[in-house]
Symmetry: C2
Subunit: 143 residues, 2 copies
């Protein structure tokens, strides 16, 4: 599946995850903006919390976000008045215990400052780190 298609499908799944958990959620348009402003993939609110999310998915390899992606996410979130979050999901492998009884379909969330920073300035999330220390949707209240 082409990356963009997979990314869009992933974003729609994440929108649904927020929706079924009672959040109001909106996905940024893929294109057609009047400017070249960088937008987060998803913006969600639950009446109390507001989150701007850059969503990434992976088959298993570590997920990287460039310094520019993180900077743009933080900039939008601060202007809007939302918490910036990196939303990651690694594809499930057959029998992987991480996904047993996981109502969040393996989605985990990190504040950008909580991610490992590479020497080049990119933010990295490995699969084991995602499941060990990533926050679940139901735990975002602690942001």
């Amino acid at each position: 599946m082409p990356r963009n298609t997979k990314g869009s499908q992933r974003e729609r799944e994440l929108v649904n995850l927020f929706h079924i958990n009672g959040w109001a959620v909106i996905r940024a348009p893929a294109s057609g903006g009047a400017t070249d402003r960088e937008l987060p993939d998803i913006l969600a609110g639950n009446g109390n919390l507001f989150v701007a999310i850059e969503a990434k998915t992976s088959g298993g390899d570590p997920i990287y976000l460039s310094h520019e992606e993180v900077r743009a996410l933080l900039y939008f979130a601060r202007n809007f008045g939302a918490t910036a979050l990196i939303g990651v999901r690694f594809d499930a492998e057959y029998g992987d215990p991480h996904y047993a009884n996981d109502d969040d379909s393996g989605s985990r969330f990190f504040e950008p400052d909580g991610c490992y920073r590479t020497e080049s300035g990119s933010s990295r999330v490995k699969k084991d780190v995602a499941f060990e220390s990533g926050r679940r949707l139901g735990d975002l209240g602690g942001c």
Copy 2:
């Protein structure tokens, strides 16, 4: 110009209006959502205020929003934690004093409860009412 094209252009102009006034703003995707949830046209925040906007434009005739449109706007806004607003703009006519020195390009905002309700339950905004009692972007702080 087809209505949808005109509507999209109007939404982009409204996005820009918020943007140049320092708001972080996102436009709902035209399609491609995973569900049939009704979304507002625009969601914007300035670090303090959050507004969900249904945007309408007119050449001069009164603007109508159906009961269902207003209900969906209020539902999303309440869930998200934003103020629901109807954003209207009437096309400028040559020499129309309403548009002289109007930094907002004639855009005015109403809370749904502030609109005239027709017998059928639709909300109506006439051009003269828009300029007499509509709120300008800079005055949204009083929402």
